[in-house]
């Protein structure tokens, strides 16, 4: 592949990351996974349908498969790898593990990011709000039952701690 000689910079999880010798057509998902050593976001459809690749760009949840990496300069990107601090699970991550919301786990990073985004913007979601908010994240294993429980429980814990 003839590399592009341009160098560009992405802000990922609070760090400045240089992308060198990259083909300019690469998606943000590809660059995160294959160039920046952040394989947490997963690709399962590369069409914006499954949500496995969800990351946060400037406070918005986006499908990183649909974003050209080179257009993401000057944005703040956070990925699933940036959520837990010193290996301590976040409330959402904890709830996913404890409620049995994880089976194969391929959908999990995208869902965890999406649920963080939901609870950050709407801390007390109703059931239908939860369903709507994560309807863009496909899980083929769980049938979503335990995932709903995890979101409900994370929301409840957050309310408790915020009292």
């Amino acid at each position: 592949m003839t590399p592009n000689t341009e160098v560009y910079q992405l802000n990922v999880n609070g760090k400045k990351c240089e992308v060198r010798d990259a083909w300019i057509g690469e998606s943000l998902l590809y660059v995160l996974r294959e160039r920046l050593g952040l394989p947490g976001a997963k690709g399962a459809c590369e069409q914006g349908e499954c949500g496995s690749c969800t990351v946060i760009m400037d406070d918005q949840a986006v499908c990183s498969c649909l974003v050209m990496a080179a257009t993401a300069i000057d944005t703040e990107i956070s990925t699933v790898e940036g959520l837990s601090v010193d290996g301590k699970l976040t409330d959402v991550q904890d709830a996913f593990v404890n409620e049995g919301a994880v089976q194969c786990g391929f959908c999990t990073p995208g869902l965890v990011v999406a649920v963080h985004n939901l609870l950050d913007t709407s801390p007390t979601p109703t059931d239908i709000e939860i369903k709507e908010a994560i309807s863009g994240n496909i899980c083929r294993c769980t049938g979503y039952g335990r995932i709903f429980e995890a979101v409900r429980s994370a929301a409840a814990t957050r309310q408790e701690t915020n009292k």
Binding site: T2, E132, R140, G143
Partner: protein, 779 residues
């Protein structure tokens, strides 16, 4: 990223604190002190998975690696006239291109019969059949190289109608012929005519497993090409190893297969997809090769659930007692055999459903066509049979003036009943209990006049007017065989080592999401009284565990782990007995201690095993089974599980839209070994059965998939899933090593006919085909 072959070794430390867990299924609270069998133990890989740290096969990266990609046939049936690689070789960054001539060993592979070429060389027989592979420095280089390969085809008329494949005058599309298998079942009185006779022809579309983690692997060549390491997402590493070695012409031990992180399977990873290609490219280039399918390619790159057409006629008394079944079942196997022969046998041997029936005339055909190959998917032939027999039960109920529940109760089979194959059901068979307990689950509240519009059919589309919405209720009950059938000895192996209070378990059981990684340590803790259990990497450095399919791993690999741990326990007791001068037969494990049943001797397992090392390997075999004879008679299955489903749906009869409101289910599980894992299997299976009922179908047009993407192949999302209320029926299975039956497949089997029946109930339509589409309801 410097994450090379990381194989997700997991170690779990449980603290022996007292936790009170709420049993999510029955709502009863029970005290569980440690993560032993029966406890709601948490997945050891959960923390890594929620942090994005778990290495799936697609996450593996290596220095100097190249990307591999596959050129596929655009035609359902064509003769290859020539392949010109020169333009592709000229592209910068292309390191290798391989075709059929580069396959050093066996040119074909296959799970049951070896009829599928590694690369097509003379004919292509389905759209998507591999013709060549390239290795290059970047996925984009691969794409360009594939586009530059010039294959000239002579396009032939494809055979895409399975019924035409049955006709003797139809030209053969493969040297092995167009009939993959024919089997009949003839039993009982062939002349009975019932007072009540109901018949119909049912059809099921082609369903995709649609696991989320796409096919992915990385192959590392030995220097000099003497062997290869493959890290792959698969269901059965030993079967892969055997088939790859044959194609590479390498000794089996020179092909070392390690399980990479697997993002779901559901049957689609049982066959060879990119295994051989990836290894060939690695050997050819002497560099690590990463291969990963796109979603579109995945639709072409693995087998699917067989579409089927089933004619069936039931003879019954006026009281609704089934006397005889006649059926003709045609399964479209697509271009290559895969497991079609076994799928067919499951279909015909389950056509009576979980009901007594003394006479039957069944003809089953699995045929070859130029459609995409079909093989294993959760439910394996029984899904098709169940849709037919359950649709018939409702017809029978109407004809006899009985309720759907009553007709099923009157015919429900029990332990000791004989199947139409002559096999006696020895398994626990709580069919009646499944039905009654499902029936006892409260119905959902009726649709409120002022319901939130988002809760109506059509959801945020806000399309439905409440007055057009009709509610319906439907039933489905099923029987499913567990493990492999027809003389196949699908044994499982496990090794247990104990030292200093720590257990290491090694097995080749593929963890595909189902949760064997949580179950295996639970077994070890129960048997050995330890808390710390380390799971060694899953690879071919131990005997086979068989496939993670057929609802078999809890029984088979669970049995193997249990057996190995018991052998170690014997050694441990002997060791302790010798040191403390106690008859080892008097020793038992109590929590984390070894105690003398008669005296007051007590020592912790940690102390007793400190400085010692015990090491045992155990193979678990299920009881032998038989092949079917010419008339379809024989004890061909190992054991059976049962389940009932009741579906409640809302249908917008004007727009043809359906929303499933509630699924109630009672499932025969033998014994609940982990309530969280069990409910996860139940809910996940129901989602897939719902998909087949109303959403999921691979649409074929002259052998070509019209919808190979998640945009066009619709999968259930959070908004499609109803409330699931599940009861797990615990009647321990004496045959099963842990008393537990497999629970993976039953949930997805009878939920499909239950939903179809509910839609019929709401609309009054016949609806003999799934998935049921809007136009089937409103046009």
């Amino acid at each position: 990223m410097k994450n090379t072959v990381s194989t997700n070794t997991v170690s779990i430390n449980t603290v022996s604190t007292s936790t009170v867990s709420t049993d999510t299924i029955t709502g009863t609270r029970r005290e569980v002190r440690r993560d032993i069998l029966g406890a709601p133990a948490l997945r050891p890989d959960g923390a890594d998975k929620v942090q994005g740290k778990f290495a799936f096969s697609s996450d593996i990266w290596a220095e100097h690696m190249l990307w591999g990609a596959t050129l596929r046939s655009p035609h359902p049936y064509a003769r290859i006239v020539s392949i010109d690689l020169s333009a592709a070789f000229d592209i910068d960054g292309v390191e290798a291109i391989i075709t059929a001539v580069d396959v050093p060993g066996k040119k074909t592979y296959g799970l049951i019969s070896s009829d599928q070429p590694v690369f097509a060389s003379d004919f292509v027989r389905y759209v998507g059949e591999p013709v060549a592979c390239v290795a290059a420095d970047h996925p984009e280089t691969c794409r360009r190289a594939l586009a530059a390969i010039n294959v000239i085809y002579e396009v032939l008329t494809p055979l895409t109608d399975p019924e035409r494949a049955l006709l003797p005058e139809t030209p053969k599309i493969h040297p092995d012929g167009n009939m993959l298998r024919y089997q009949k079942i003839i039993c009982g009185d062939q002349t009975i005519q019932g007072e009540i006779i109901v018949e119909n022809t049912y059809e099921l579309g082609m369903q995709d497993q649609a696991f989320l983690g796409l096919e992915a692997a990385m192959a590392f060549p030995d220097s000099g090409g003497a062997g290869v390491d493959l890290v792959i997402a698969t269901q059965w590493i030993h079967e892969d190893q055997k088939q790859i070695a044959a194609c590479l012409d390498l000794p089996v031990d020179k092909v070392r297969v390690t399980l990479g992180g697997v993002g779901g399977a559901f049957g689609a990873r049982e066959d060879i997809s990119l295994q051989v290609h990836c290894c060939l490219l690695a050997l050819k280039t002497s560099r690590p090769i990463k291969m990963q399918y796109s979603r579109e390619e995945s639709f072409y790159g693995h087998v699917h659930r067989h579409p089927a057409k089933i004619w069936i006629r039931h003879h019954a008394t006026n009281e609704g007692i089934i006397q005889r079944i006649e059926s003709k079942m045609v399964f479209d196997g697509g271009a290559y055999a895969s497991t079609s022969a076994a799928v067919l046998i499951n279909g015909i041997t389950h056509i009576q459903g979980p009901y007594k029936c003394e006479s039957a005339t069944v003809h089953g055909f699995a045929v070859r066509t130029n459609n995409p190959p079909c093989g294993a998917m959760r439910g394996f032939g029984v899904v098709q049979a169940c849709f037919a027999h359950e649709s018939q039960m409702d017809k029978l109920a109407v004809a006899c003036g009985l309720s759907p529940v009553e007709i099923r109760l009157r015919n429900a089979m029990r332990t000791g009943d004989k199947l139409i194959t002559g096999q006696v059901i020895e398994s626990v068979a709580p069919v009646e209990r499944c039905i009654r307990e499902t029936d006892a689950i409260p119905m959902p509240v009726p649709l409120a006049r002022d319901a939130n519009p988002l809760e109506l059919v059509g959801g945020s589309g806000l399309t439905s007017l409440p007055q057009n919405i009709v509610r319906g209720v439907g039933w489905g009950v099923s029987i499913k065989n567990l493990m492999y059938s027809e003389k196949f000895d699908d044994y499982a192996t496990a090794r247990c080592q104990l030292h200093d209070g720590i257990v290491n378990l090694k097995f080749a059981t593929a963890e595909v999401g189902q949760g064997f990684v949580v179950l295996a340590p639970q077994i070890a803790r129960s048997v050995l009284g330890v808390d710390e259990v380390i799971l060694d990497p899953v690879d071919t450095r131990i005997g086979s565990a068989g496939s993670t399919s057929a609802s078999r791993q809890t029984w088979m690999s669970g049995g193997a782990v249990d057996g190995a741990c018991r052998l170690v326990r014997e050694q441990l007791f002997e060791h302790v007995g010798k040191i403390h001068n106690i008859d080892p037969l008097r020793l038992v494990i109590e929590d984390t201690d070894i105690v003398d049943m008669i005296g007051d001797f007590r020592i912790s397992v940690i102390d007793a095993s400190t400085g010692a090392h015990f090491d045992q390997t155990f193979e678990h075999h299920h009881r032998p089974t038989e092949e079917l004879d010419e008339n379809g008679q024989g004890n061909c299955h190992v054991a059976f599980a049962f389940v009932a489903h009741r579906a409640v749906v809302d249908v917008d009869v004007e727009l043809g839209l359906v929303k499933v409101i509630q699924i109630a289910t009672a499932q025969d599980v033998g014994r609940v070994l982990n309530p969280i894992a069990a409910i996860g299997q139940v809910e996940g299976g129901i989602a897939q059965g719902l998909g087949l009922a109303v959403m999921e179908e691979i649409v074929l047009d002259n052998g070509k998939i019209r919808n190979p993407s998640f945009t066009d192949y619709l999968l259930p999302t959070t908004l499609d899933m109803p409330d699931v209320i599940a009861v797990l029926i615990e009647e321990p299975e004496p045959q099963a090593p842990l008393g537990a039956k497999g629970i993976g497949e039953p949930p997805c089997i009878s939920v499909t006919p239950a939903i179809a029946a509910a839609i019929r109930n709401a609309t009054g339509r016949d609806l003999p085909r799934v998935p049921i589409r809007p136009q089937d309801i409103c046009l």
